[in-house]
Symmetry: C2
Subunit: 754 residues, 2 copies
């Protein structure tokens, strides 16, 4: 397959415009800052012969509507939540002597768009030969400020190369045009009522303003747009507002317009919002200043990442693209998170899943710990909802929603939703790993211990000591990460995370009691904790049940090996993904996996199994896994590396590293696959780099696939940033910043200092 | 609990009208003939302070609408089907000197309603003291003709006892007023769009006519009403038609109005329908003649049943009430069946489940074999749909819908719907048992063999020979009758019916090949049958897997004993039924049953287990079963009798025998529980009577509970009707009609002849 973009180290460039790629490239070229997300839509909207998905999203801002069930029953999730596609402020329409610019119709040459991952901008340039004979060089540049949550900006520059024309520039502020979506694909938001009510429109001088409201969830969204550099006029319209300027151009003359855009949202009516938005965009720094800030912000990020590959430009581009997008999409306010598609599209309706904790958080934990903390604070912010949900289901502790925006369960199919109790363990694991990697005891005392205690309580209550299993602690009727095996008993992954949660919570409460007696006392009062609980957690952890291996094969759950074999090579390619082409009962009855499940457990809880067991199970599960989930291949790559199957690891790694850049799942149009994007970092650092962390100590065991000359990455642990550089001659380690540390390389200790 | 009705052998009488009982008594007093069903609504509709559920239903006539799912997936049932509540023709409104009759507001005394189970009528009488001073004796009588599918009739008689008045009698023909229903109870039709389009209204002399159409399923429903005995006038109205008569009454005078009502339905537009309906009701026999026919029809039925109990009038009333209602509700045309609530209400939307084959059919098989055959022909009529469904799910053979009216799957929750594959085995079992009981080889050749072959094919394809189970044939991811344990492996009941299906199909094809070579050749061509298939069916049957008992306890399925114990006495009474108060995951995880499942297998496939095993498992499953299904207690009663626990059998039997008469499940308002009603017959005949049939041979082992002086029943096998009369002195057997037979009594053979 030929890649659509030339392999550049820091950019993704579309050299030739193709109408058929418009929707997927709108995702590829999306910009965001953790709050505002703008799809890479053309300024003029669409192009001739192309389909478009227009989109501007605000993290955490959603509308809801009741879920309708064919047959309803007790405890089902009550409401859908769907991220709002808010008013569009990024558009700019050009008309020359009455001819509207439109790709595919207008005479346009040298069209080029570039996502610049160091400057954090989307640049576009082309030459437009107007019907009236003028030749115009058009350039635009767009950014969503990583340093200023509410701000985005657009710069337009038009130079007249020859001839002359009357150019009209229109800047509309209008409700989003919402694409329909495929009603038969359960993974997108089709069929949900996603339209907002436009409550008020303002047009004052060079500033436009619009307020919208969600129909049911109570959100008010406000946008203001200020125009500079060109004098024009604005007017309010029925469906929005519009700023307009007429600019006569002659050969050699040029015009430069800057737009600053401000988005604000509040969950309750707030009359001050429109004025605040107008003031913020009027007072925004100029475009050049914003560019400078943006570059500085990204320089910091890339310095923390410190990643490069020698000998594979396509891969390097893919890895950086992935990191750039997860960085853009992460909520930074402790109240928002990362949706499965980030802020790049409406796929999965803007919901947050376990993806954050299981896939994305490790990246930030080792490259931008402050951001990682903010994402974990989100879990603390929705802990009250998780407590209510546990109570509704008759359980102690807290149960996080399988999919949600504000914390309420939105999964309308509980066997592959609510039954994925492992999400509680994923959160707990993330807390423990974050604290281990960062040493952030403040987080543990304020938030972490409570998260651990409530999730431990949940697991303790969910399972029981089974006489039928010799008194072992079992977790029945659960769904693991693999959604092709639902409501199973003793899913190994779930039992592993539950055990980790129970032990971690007991240790955290013990630490809190001894080291932070005041915090401990506060927490005991707040959640009614008694010391005997930790004993009961440890008793369950000590007796946690794991299904016995048969001929070396560890069953993913009690019944997995009883299922009906379904050789994958008997299933035609067009019947994938299975969930779209077979009834759940057919899938659940079969010995087939959607994604890594036991394999994920083996990578994360590696000490439980011997290398020989890992090898045997890798090949077995490899033979029964469809990888219908984009979360799968990165994990297989990880374990392949661990068992020394570097070539297999490389193949899996490569087939996930450019998944969105090359639109390999054919649904990049609905948004980018955040978890997979993060998984490629893990595949490099933990897979090829062999990086592991145990009690604050880093170890590495780098291998170099023959396809590369070398690679390099940085990880920050407890304030010390270590750079690993692997080449044919072997690894080199360097302390980039922080206190001296001792790391382990292939089992041998090495002390690093500045 | 005091019974609401006096204990009469052949009637159910409401002696005092109570507004609060109106809705449930509308079900109790329902009349039907297998096609038309009329709820026991008051002629004037409702009463002051009462809630009513108006209803007239035509068997098999439904509307459909797409099922909306929270998350849709491949192979889900596409459309709801909901039985139509058609135009109301039974109402009669009385107005005396401008005062409309209304119970609770009018001065009414001696109100009395009687369901007469020998005459098949609903009678009503009361005295009305009008505001204007007249005293009127009002009587009405209603019947739905058991001999004439399309006909019903109402007679009204008003005598003026004293005073005088101008009486106005209005007979409206109007669209049904559809009750709302509880949207949180998944068992009723709330939320479905059930309104019909009224296409045409006629009023000609004493005849009214109305045509309605369903919105999506294409049905046309036609009703005509003719009035006799009183001269009046009729008029068409916006919403219907109305016949009206003004009758001046003085002391001693009386008026008698007869209404004959005709309902017709066609699945396609049929312009001739209105005229046919008008002609049919004009030419209908007069009321007295209809009464006579009705009585004769019911005399035949009761003669076939021959049931009585000495020493328990309440029970006798309950049993006869149950039999009367299932007889009324059964479709007689080979294209319709019995809905879960018969034609008495909208509960379960008029759907047919396995209830017919597993519970109701045995009753008719032994008391009215011709009716039993018609019900089985329904399965043959929908076999093409069942084939399509199997294909859609990727299976060979045919899979009957879990719930349906016309054969298409309507179950919107597949774990307790489509996954109940045992319905195929229930149908196959019914075919085999029907043929054994009746000797109806014509049925076997025409319909039965094909039903058996297609269901056997399905099971053969559903299961597989599992290496993990020593090469046994396993059926994984199925739901047995017990809906509190879903998607389990090797549900014993399912495996039993599957084995019976596989063996029965092989034997039937073998018989057909040898005895009916032409039918055999036709069938082979029609369904592409090859002889090797039967071998493969028998191979699967021979290796059918049954989970091994543990300490004598037979697990209901592979995992049942692994589930979490949930002592029933720890669940407060108000938390029943569990499905309304707990999440499915909580229920499925627990060692708790909704209803008889293994116990049903033990009663039906008794030869598989020793008496000691049956005893042990009876007590164990008794301790974990909530009986949240009305299908449960009759089966427990049956096995309790078999193991000699007569007192327990009696308790279970009694608590199900009057379930609807005493509204014990608090939902009789939505319709009567047909399967439970049938189950009480089985409880008497097969439970206390110990009746069994094996290869055309009857055996009995009657026991007499100390509460009764005696009981009596009749069963017809292969044309011979045997009466069993059990008293303290022991049983007496008598051949009532047919050829001489040899029966077995407590293992001893007895020859009976006329």
């Amino acid at each position: 397959m030929k890649a659509k973009f030339p392999y550049e180290p820091w950019a993704v460039t579309e050299e030739v415009f193709a109408a058929k790629n418009l929707r997927e490239n709108e995702s590829v070229f999306a910009l965001a800052n953790g709050f505002i997300g703008m799809r890479g839509n053309l300024e003029e909207g669409c192009a001739a012969g192309a389909e478009t998905i227009q989109g501007t999203f605000l993290n955490g801002v959603f509308d809801s509507e009741p879920i309708v069930y064919g047959e309803k029953a007790y405890g089902y999730a009550k409401n859908h939540q769907t991220i709002c596609n808010v008013m569009d402020a990024k558009s700019l329409l050009l008309t020359a002597d009455g001819e509207a610019l439109c790709l595919g119709r207008s005479d346009v040459a040298d069209h080029r768009r570039t996502l610049d991952m160091r400057s954090g901008t989307l640049r576009r340039s082309f030459t437009w030969r107007t019907a009236s004979g003028a030749v115009l060089a058009v350039e635009s540049q767009r950014l969503v400020s990583l340093r200023r949550k509410e701000l985005a900006a657009v710069r337009l520059r038009v130079r007249c190369l020859s001839g002359g024309c009357d150019l009209q520039i229109e800047s509309p502020l209008s409700p989003a045009v919402i694409a329909e979506g495929d009603p038969n694909d359960p993974r997108n938001a089709a069929g949900k009522d996603r339209s907002l009510t436009t409550a008020c429109v303002r047009a004052e001088g060079d500033v436009l303003g619009m307020t919208q409201q969600t129909k049911r969830s109570g959100y008010t969204i406000c946008c203001a747009v200020a125009h500079r550099g060109v004098s024009g006029g604005s007017r309010a319209e029925d469906t929005g507002a519009r700023w307009c300027a007429d600019v006569p151009l002659s050969a050699g003359s040029e015009v430069c317009l800057d737009k600053s855009i401000c988005y604000l949202a509040a969950q309750h009516a707030d009359d001050a919002l429109p004025d605040r938005a107008a003031a913020l965009c009027r007072e925004a720094p100029n475009f050049d200043a914003l560019l400078q800030e943006q570059r500085a912000e990204l320089d910091d990020f890339w310095a923390g990442v410190g990643l490069s590959i020698e000998g594979d430009d396509a891969l390097l581009q893919g890895l950086r693209f992935n990191l750039f997008h997860i960085y853009q999409s992460a909520g930074r306010d402790g109240k928002t998170n990362i949706a499965a598609k980030g802020l790049t599209g409406e796929g999965y309706e803007g919901h947050t899943f376990w993806d954050t904790e299981a896939y994305i958080l490790p990246v930030f934990q080792y490259t931008d710990p402050a951001l990682a903390r903010k994402l974990l604070e989100y879990r603390y912010a929705i802990l009250p909802r998780a407590r209510e949900r546990a109570r509704e289901l008759g359980h102690d502790g807290a149960l996080f929603a399988w999919r949600t925006i504000d914390g309420d369960e939105c999964s309308a199919y509980f066997p592959a939703g609510t039954a994925q109790y492992h999400i509680d363990g994923d959160v707990a694991h993330a807390v423990l790993e974050y604290v281990d990697a960062t040493g952030d005891r403040d987080f543990l005392a304020r938030y972490g211990a409570e998260l651990l205690a409530e999730t431990a309580r949940f697991f303790r209550d969910l399972g029981f000591f089974s006489a039928e299993k010799d008194g072992h602690f079992v977790l029945n009727c659960v769904t693991g990460p693999d959604e092709y095996n639902v409501m199973v008993d003793n899913n190994v992954y779930t039992n592993c995370v539950a055990e980790e949660t129970l032990r971690g919570a007991a240790a955290a409460m013990d630490w809190l009691r001894q080291e932070r007696p005041e915090d401990y006392a506060r927490l005991c009062r707040a959640i009614g904790y008694r010391e005997a609980e930790a004993e009961s957690w440890l008793a369950a952890a000590d007796k946690m049940y794991y299904p016995a291996a048969r001929d070396g094969i560890v069953p993913q759950d009690d019944g997995f090996l009883q299922r009906r074999p379904w050789p994958l090579d008997s299933i035609p390619a067009e019947k994938h993904p299975l969930l779209i082409h077979f009834h759940g009962l057919t899938i659940y009855r079969s010995m087939v996996c959607k994604q890594a499940d036991l394999i994920l457990a083996m990578t994360r809880y590696g000490e439980r199994w011997t290398m020989e067991e890992k090898r045997k199970n890798f090949f077995f599960y490899d033979s029964v896994t469809t990888h219908d989930s984009s979360l799968s291949m990165a994990v297989f790559s990880l374990l392949a590396n661990e068992i020394g199957e570097t070539a297999t690891a490389y193949d899996y790694f490569m087939s996930s590293a450019r998944l969105d850049l090359d639109d390999m799942h054919h649904n990049t149009k609905d948004g980018l696959h955040m978890a997979n994007m993060a998984g490629t970092w893990t595949g490099l650092v933990m897979g090829f780099g062999g990086m592991r962390l145990r009690e604050g100590k880093l170890s590495f065991a780098p291998v170099l696939p023959p396809q590369w000359q070398g690679y390099r990455f940085r990880v920050t642990v407890r304030g010390s940033c270590v750079e690993v550089c692997m080449r044919a001659g072997g690894p080199e380690y360097r302390l980039v910043s922080g206190d001296g540390v001792t790391i382990t390389s292939y089992g041998k200790e090495i002390a690093l200092s500045l």
